[in-house]
């Protein structure tokens, strides 16, 4: 008997489609038949069937709820709406059968069918939510639409610690909670509670999941919350699931320290005596990108063809970058004339290597027209400092290679006005290698000319 009831219960997801089918069919038939009214009898039969299979759906649903360990709170909405729908189906039957029931006489036919449709939709939706989780249907909607509809959206919580404020930051709310929120709560939170575990609130963390508590005070190795995270990605029960974004090493270290500290839910980092090194990775790093921010969309590969045909090598910096790197490595005869071919891509060049080519000072005016140029190599060419000031308008130029060129010490006066220049290489020029290593703050000069003087041990053979 148990087996039968369990089996019938599990057929619920199948059976529920019958009342839906009959009801929708009834509604559609009513609509197409509204003028001729030849099918009134058939409609009554349809609604009767709908009522009968609804009862069957209710029974199987109830058995499913009884046998599979659903909480009443989880299913109650679906359950009540299911029963109401079943009852309403019989009401529809009576309405079409005879129109003699007093209460039903007051309600018009169209209102009845619309009501029926609404009821079955609500019931179905509530059932779907039990199976797939709350918010399954609305999840694919864009964030803006969700917000407008008042649906809670998953918000990534940033960890905002700084070198000055980290000690006073609240350990749980400002560090642990955001970590759990960003990496765990989408499955173990208010919307879904897989394994009956909810990690978005203190209560949920403390009460644990279906296998009991997930934290053992001061013992990370005994705490499932921690051990599942550090287990190998392919191990059974590893969390987050391997296809999801994993916790970083730094996040794992913080969680460990938090569990070791007895998983406190209040108190600052300093009050729990935790070390700065744990939190330092979360401090904002003011890493400025080396290359300018890309505001252009990439040139199609085809448009680079004419550049390539000249023998110049041109390539994208990386797959999703519009910036180009151009080198004359395969074209030692490169001269001013060849810059014509480059004109269409001037705005895209961030790295240009013209070393070992036949260029001279006449190249400078052209170079001044490369607005995003960041790295320029003019090494082993005949250029001098005549006209190099043209480059001072390059607001992004950071590295300049002038090794083995004809520059003189005049170059430094001119370089001072270069807005972003960080490094200049002047090895192999007439400049003495003991010149100033820094011209102004942030501009480093590499004179090269390094030597490794002979030392006694060079000639000792053991």
């Amino acid at each position: 008997m148990d087996i039968l009831s369990q089996l019938l219960g599990r057929l619920h997801p199948l059976i529920v489609h019958l009342p839906i089918g009959f009801l929708v069919l009834g509604v559609l038939l009513y609509w197409t038949d509204r003028k001729t009214k030849q099918y009134t009898g058939l409609l009554a039969t349809l609604f009767l069937w709908a009522g009968l299979v609804s009862v069957l759906a209710c029974i199987s649903g109830f058995l499913l709820y009884q046998n599979e360990g659903y909480g009443f709170d989880t299913v109650k909405g679906h359950l009540w709406f299911g029963i109401i729908t079943a009852v309403f189906c019989f009401a529809l039957y009576l309405k079409w059968k005879s129109d003699s029931v007093a209460v039903l006489q007051k309600v018009s036919f169209p209102v009845m069918v619309v009501l029926g449709l609404v009821l079955i939709s609500i019931t179905g939706h509530k059932g779907g939510n039990i199976t797939h989780g709350e918010g399954y249907l609305t999840e694919p909607l864009p964030r803006g639409v969700k917000k407008a509809l008042g649906i809670p959206v998953f918000e990534e919580l940033p960890i905002t610690l700084t070198e000055d404020s980290w000690e006073n930051a609240d350990l749980y709310t400002e560090v642990v909670h955001p970590i759990l929120n960003n990496k765990c709560v989408s499955c173990h939170g208010p919307k879904q509670a897989k394994g009956e575990l909810r990690l978005h609130l203190e209560d949920g963390i403390l009460s644990g999941g279906e296998n009991g508590e997930v934290i053992m005070a001061q013992n990370p190795d005994g705490s499932e919350l921690f051990t599942r995270i550090i287990s190998p990605k392919d191990a059974d029960g590893h969390m987050p699931p391997k296809e999801k974004e994993q916790l970083t090493k730094e996040e794992v270290a913080v969680l460990k320290a938090w569990v070791e500290a007895g998983h406190p839910f209040d108190g600052s980092i300093a009050s729990h005596g935790l070390d700065e090194s744990l939190f330092e990775p979360f401090f904002p790093k003011d890493v400025e990108d080396f290359y300018p921010e890309a505001t252009l969309s990439a040139l199609p590969l085809d448009s680079l063809r004419s550049v390539k045909e000249t023998g110049l090598h041109v390539e994208y910096l990386s797959k999703d970058s519009p910036w180009l790197r151009v080198t004359a490595i395969n074209k030692p005869g490169f001269s001013l004339m060849d810059t014509l071919a480059l004109t269409p891509i001037n705005d895209f060049i961030v790295e240009l290597d013209l070393s070992h080519t036949a260029i001279n000072d006449s190249i400078y005016p052209y170079l001044g027209h490369l607005p995003h140029l960041t790295v320029l190599n003019l090494g082993q060419t005949e250029v001098t400092d005549q006209g190099i000031e043209e480059l001072s308008q390059l607001s992004h130029l950071k590295h300049l290679n002038l090794t083995r060129t004809g520059i003189t010490s005049n170059v430094f006066n001119k370089l001072e006005s270069f807005p972003s220049l960080q490094k200049v290489y002047v090895f192999g020029t007439s400049l003495p290698s003991d010149g100033p290593k820094e011209i102004h703050k942030g501009l480093e000069v590499d004179y090269g000319g390094y030597t490794l003087p002979r030392i006694a041990s060079d000639s000792i053979i053991y």
Binding site: Y291, S318, K319, S321, I329, G379, F427, G448
Partner: protein
């Protein structure tokens, strides 16, 4: 005739028939079926049917530059920190305990029995029974602003210590040279996988049209124990394998035209071949023919370009002096200078092997207080000069230099066959050894990882060979988990299922 003799006759006939079914018959009769089966499997495993340029053309797809020239450059998935790699491999494995990993405690325990707890469950190549601990056979000092330890064996290197980032606790699970070298360069101790250089040239191509993208240089008198597989292309197309060049004699074997073949004659030969190939292409439109035409032309250009770049004589004297080169000989110094020249010419990956670091203490040349010092002297000046020379040319900004062996050496004195040995040597040891990296994207003067007080195991910052590979690929603009090649029905990675980028040494 009795039934008995009839049975015998039938039996004999059957036997004869069976005997007539020779192996030759099997091969002959079944060739079509077997061959067809084998061919389909073979073609499928080469991705021949689906991904070849011919198939692409059939599908009306546009050909990429790659289809015509397999070394055409491709942009990396992410913005790279470096464009080229120079990998200095000390074949045989140098002793970290005489070079970078200073262990004063070990000096105090010198000549004492190694604790049993360290030996349990461990396998050594030659150590048997209970070996004695061997104190460091060199003086150490903290140098540079970073204050990292360097021994007296590397006096010149002290000058550039602030340029490099040390990994003090690299580990490998191999303790024999061949497998360990394969592991270090292909990500697995077994044969058949592509080397790092092949992965990189496959993934990025090479800029210089006249030079190979992946060049290998060896010194020390012997090739690495694992053979050429350490620069092999495995299942990647063979065009991506390392090209071994020599610093002595012809830089590439058979690069010169044979006697009586002038360069003009060679050119007209190639032109004639290409003409036929072009006619073939006009008829069949197979883009592989175009690729072949390209290859012929590249080989022709290489005949000029390779000897030119491989000639160190035209370098100025002060540069030759800095590296300590010995023209006409095969030396690590020459190879370091060549490495710089190659990288300067846009070669993607330069792999150096220097043989002679297997300091077992079996004789004078392998003693950690004698032969090892000679080896250190041979690399100290060149590798220091390499870093300085790259730096002064602005090349160190976009080149990664990696230094290491295939494993490390034991803190115990080797006792081959359980006997006391005349020289001081150390056995193979993979639990914790030192490597360093320098160049673009590397945190200058960093030191990651720490070994215990005798240098036996890692106590902090242990990294694996896979982590080293992941870091190298990261610097070149790849996510090592997404850089794959489909072979035998599944995607393969250099780091297999392992590897984490070593963020601690990144700038």
């Amino acid at each position: 005739m009795s039934k008995d003799s009839l049975d015998r006759l039938i039996h004999e006939k059957l036997m004869r028939e069976v005997q007539a079914q020779t192996r030759r018959h099997f091969m002959k009769q079944c060739a079509t079926g077997m061959g067809g089966l084998a061919l389909s499997g073979f073609l499928a495993s080469c991705n021949f049917q689906n991904n070849g340029p011919a198939a692409a053309l059939k599908k009306g797809l546009q050909l990429t530059e790659r289809d015509l020239n397999p070394l055409a450059t491709l942009p990396p998935p992410f913005a790279p920190k470096v464009k080229s790699v120079i990998y200095l491999h000390m074949a045989g494995s140098p002793s970290q305990l005489e070079m970078f990993d200073y262990k004063p405690e070990l000096a105090k325990l010198h000549n004492q029995d190694c604790p049993q707890s360290l030996l349990q469950g461990k396998k050594f190549a030659f150590i048997r029974g209970t070996p004695k601990l061997l104190g460091p056979q060199a003086e150490f000092e903290r140098v540079g602003e970073s204050g990292n330890w360097v021994s007296e064996n590397l006096p010149h290197f002290k000058k550039v210590v602030d340029e490099v980032a040390f990994l003090k606790a690299v580990n490998t699970d191999q303790f024999n040279h061949g497998p360990a070298q394969l592991f270090m360069h292909t990500g697995t101790p077994r044969l058949g996988r592509p080397s790092v250089g092949s992965w990189v040239t496959y993934g990025l191509g090479s800029e210089n049209q006249n030079l190979p993208g992946f060049v290998v240089l060896t010194s020390g008198g012997q090739a690495p124990s694992a053979g050429k597989s350490v620069w092999g292309s495995g299942f990647l197309p063979s065009v991506y394998q390392g090209v071994q060049c020599r610093s002595k004699g012809d830089p590439v074997l058979y690069i010169d035209d044979p006697k009586g073949m002038s360069r003009d004659l060679k050119k007209s030969t190639i032109d004639a071949i290409n003409k036929i190939n072009k006619a073939e292409y006009a008829q069949y439109a197979d883009p592989e023919i175009l690729a072949r035409i390209n290859q012929y032309e590249m080989a022709y250009r290489m005949q000029i370009a390779v000897p030119e770049v491989m000639n160190i004589n035209n370098e100025p004297d002060n540069i030759k002096e800095m590296y300590g080169v010995e023209p006409g000989k095969e030396s690590f110094a020459n190879n370091c200078l060549l490495a710089r020249k190659l990288v300067e010419q846009g070669v993607r990956y330069v792999q150096l092997f220097d043989w002679g670091w297997d300091s077992h203490g079996t004789d004078h040349s392998t003693a950690v207080d004698l032969g090892l010092r000679n080896k250190c002297r041979q690399i100290d000046r060149p590798m220091t000069a390499l870093l300085l020379d790259l730096k002064q040319r602005g090349l160190l900004d976009d080149t990664l230099v990696v230094w290491g062996g295939e494993f490390g050496r034991t803190p115990m004195k080797e006792n081959r066959e359980g006997k006391e040995m005349g020289f001081m040597g150390r056995d193979h040891h993979g639990d914790a050894f030192t490597m360093w990296m320098a160049g673009g994207g590397i945190k200058k003067g960093a030191c990651h990882g720490e070994t215990d007080e005798i240098g036996f195991s890692a106590v902090d910052g242990a990294v694996s060979v896979h982590d080293v590979h992941a870091t190298m690929l990261h610097l070149l603009g790849f996510n090592h988990e997404q850089f794959t090649f489909d072979f035998q029905g599944r995607p393969f990675r250099l780091t297999d299922v392992h590897g984490e980028v070593i963020k601690e040494i990144l700038a």
